[in-house]
């Protein structure tokens, strides 16, 4: 058999190798381009996730953030916004009114972050201008009867001495715009009304005083409420959760802890909103209570802070229900006059007002230069 020589085989092999190299190069370039495109998409998604973290924190601003100590940091934990896209936001209190909300957005593939972007926003606390001029402010008529007491002296609540300044000057027991204040025989001569003066009639108690609090209005405050309640309410008391224990702000019956300074809920001042009538029967809490309808305090309920009622207020019963702070009742025209009766005590407290209003502050982005990109 003769040996046949030729170039066909080497030529074919050479051609195949060369073609393979070319095709590989084309695939490589294509893959490179695809990856660059994917990276752009991933970066955009991470950035948008970070932005959504800021927005989410601002939209669901918790009064627990308002109660944070200066320098403290809280986190939302990792929040998933879409498949493979999530953010973690951190809320750091800078000073008494400023917070830095920092959000890291991530785009993940197979659970591993491939892109991270960080943005931040400076947030300012806007405290409602709730500084009532008296222990009880009313717009229309009111009856004070039984063993009720309204005191305009600056009362420092029990156990609050360490955190309150020296008592401020007394204010009137009742600030009234027009309606007659009727006191029953037990309160003859206004003996149940103490303070700088029993009753101060002023036009300051007009309707807007109950709906507009400086830069914040009633609906805005109500919209920030952490508790929405109505009807009869009892058993309000602080609760804790977890280990180490922390204030259980998820408990609807937890309205903070005004009695125990070492308690986890001592600095928790929720905004509580009642869209209709509300009857407080037992328990205790603190914060800012907004009532769209009428308020009744029928038992030994104790509240520390500010109560704003669009309707009328009625207190009844022999148990001593107490309000430390101030109570404002707009007594909308057409409703029967309110009455402070039973053994209720409305005790003006500058400190309770101050702490609850600070805790109930509304957060808003800094008006200018509040947004920043972090590296």
């Amino acid at each position: 058999m003769s040996t046949r020589s030729g170039v066909a085989l080497p030529l074919a092999l050479f051609t195949i190798v060369l073609a393979a190299v070319m095709i590989t190069a084309v695939f490589y370039v294509g893959r490179l381009e695809q990856r660059m495109g994917n990276n752009s998409i991933a970066a955009t998604r991470a950035f948008e996730a970070a932005e959504s973290g800021i927005t989410a924190v601002l939209n669901s601003w918790s009064t627990t953030y308002s109660g944070m100590l200066i320098g403290d940091t809280r986190t939302t934990g990792q929040v998933t916004v879409a498949t493979g896209t999530n953010y973690t936001a951190y809320i750091r209190r800078l000073n008494s009114v400023l917070f830095l909300v920092q959000s890291e957005g991530r785009f993940q593939v197979g659970g591993v972050p491939v892109t991270r972007r960080q943005v931040a926003r400076l947030v300012r606390l806007l405290a409602p201008d709730l500084s009532p001029d008296g222990a009880l402010t009313t717009r229309l008529g009111l009856t004070v009867k039984d063993d009720a007491r309204i005191d305009g002296a600056d009362n420092i609540p029990p156990n609050w001495g360490f955190t309150c300044a020296a008592p401020f000057p007394s204010v009137p027991a009742i600030v009234d715009s027009a309606g007659p204040i009727i006191t029953d025989p037990n309160c003859a001569g206004g003996s149940c009304l103490t303070g700088s003066t029993p009753i101060w009639v002023t036009t300051q108690a007009r309707m807007s005083a109950y709906t507009t609090f400086g830069a914040v209005d009633f609906p805005t405050l109500a919209g920030s409420a952490e508790r929405v309640v109505s009807g009869p309410v009892s058993g309000i008391q602080p609760s804790i959760t977890g280990s180490p224990s922390q204030c259980n702000t998820g408990d609807v019956n937890n309205w903070g802890d005004p009695l125990d300074p070492s308690g986890r809920c001592w600095n928790y001042f929720p905004i509580i909103y009642s869209p209709g009538d509300l009857e407080l029967q037992s328990g205790y809490g603190q914060g800012v209570l907004l009532v769209q309808g009428n308020l009744t305090i029928s038992g030994d309920f104790r509240f520390f802070g500010v109560i704003v009622v669009q309707g009328t207020v009625t207190t009844t019963g022999t148990s001593t229900g107490r309000v430390y702070g101030a109570l404002m009742t707009a007594s909308v025209a057409g409703l029967p006059d309110g009455s402070i009766g039973g053994a209720a005590q409305i005790l003006y407290s500058h400190c309770a007002i101050d702490r609850s209003v600070t805790g109930a502050s509304v957060a808003e982005s800094l008006r200018e230069r509040g947004w920043m990109q972090l590296y």
Binding site: G30, A43, N95, L126, A127, G214, R369, W371, M372
Partner: protein
């Protein structure tokens, strides 16, 4: 007569012709593939450059605040050039003394250390606590930086930023934010026979340096839009900036499959609109 094996002249010629045709076809395929590869590599590179340039510009311009306290961040603006304040870091003030602002060493959020002379600062002044209407950012030069301590009980490590024209210490709250910035300019620049997207630190006294490209001769253009998305030439009305970046390949390449058409640079463009995030909120 003995028979001798071999090819006839005709067979040999036929073989050579066939081999020539095959070789020519292969060469054409190889050249086509090579040019296609070169074209694609160039195109990918060009697109990456345009993306990078757009990303740089968007990141720089997004933090601009205009018509706000502390002065406008947009200094000069044309259709091909923009001079602006570029935010560089955020820190927290922990003490005001005569001629100096102390900032905490930790945290400082920034891409690079603060540089005296090159950087200036904006200090947040609260004034009244009950209103946001009087809040303002006060612009201050940074004339020097020294290591110091905070005027706080813990005397935390700080930097003292020497400055002048400080507001009263009583008006600056502890841990008030401080933003540092430098004046930057972005504009086209020619280098090595190509046009590039260039950038320079005006406050740092730098010359324009290419940062992305190459781009076409008119490869960078800015449009300034008001709150309704209409073009505006009034600085105080600018709410967003539309950036058009037109890139081109480094080398001339044949378009399409690499075989037809004249050899020329490939062109591509990217348009993005950046909303200024630090405008005054209503």
């Amino acid at each position: 007569m003995r028979r001798r094996a071999g090819f006839t002249l005709v067979e040999l010629l036929m073989g050579l012709i066939i081999m020539g045709i095959v070789a020519a076809a292969l060469t054409k395929v190889f050249l086509s593939q090579q040019r296609l590869t070169v074209t694609q590599v160039e195109q990918a590179s060009m697109q990456a450059n345009v993306r990078t340039g757009t990303l740089i510009l968007a990141n720089e311009l997004r933090e601009i605040g205009n018509n706000v306290t502390g002065g406008n961040d947009i200094k000069t603006f044309t259709s091909t050039s923009l001079t602006y304040r570029a935010m560089r870091s955020v820190a927290l003030a922990c003490g005001i003394t005569s001629g100096g602002v102390r900032i905490r060493q930790n945290p400082i959020y920034g891409a690079r250390p603060i540089t005296a002379g090159r950087d200036s600062m904006l200090l947040f002044v609260e004034h009244g606590l009950g209103t946001t209407g009087d809040d303002e950012w006060v612009r201050l030069p940074i004339t020097g930086i020294t290591v110091s301590t905070c005027l706080t009980p813990d005397s935390a490590p700080a930097y003292r930023l020497a400055t002048s024209g400080l507001p009263a210490a009583s008006e600056v709250r502890l841990d008030a934010p401080v933003r540092t910035y430098e004046i930057m300019q972005v504009a086209p620049v020619v280098q090595g026979g190509h046009n590039w997207l260039g950038a320079r630190s005006v406050s740092g006294g730098e010359a324009l340096t290419p940062v992305a490209g190459p781009i076409t001769v008119a490869g960078l253009s800015f449009s300034y839009l008001d709150e309704n998305g209409n073009s505006t030439g009034t600085r105080s009305n600018i709410r967003s900036i539309r950036i058009v970046l037109r890139g081109q390949t480094d080398w001339n390449v044949r378009p399409g499959n690499g075989l037809v058409g004249p050899s020329q640079p490939l062109l591509d463009s990217l348009v993005t609109t950046v909303t200024l995030r630090n405008m005054r909120l209503p």
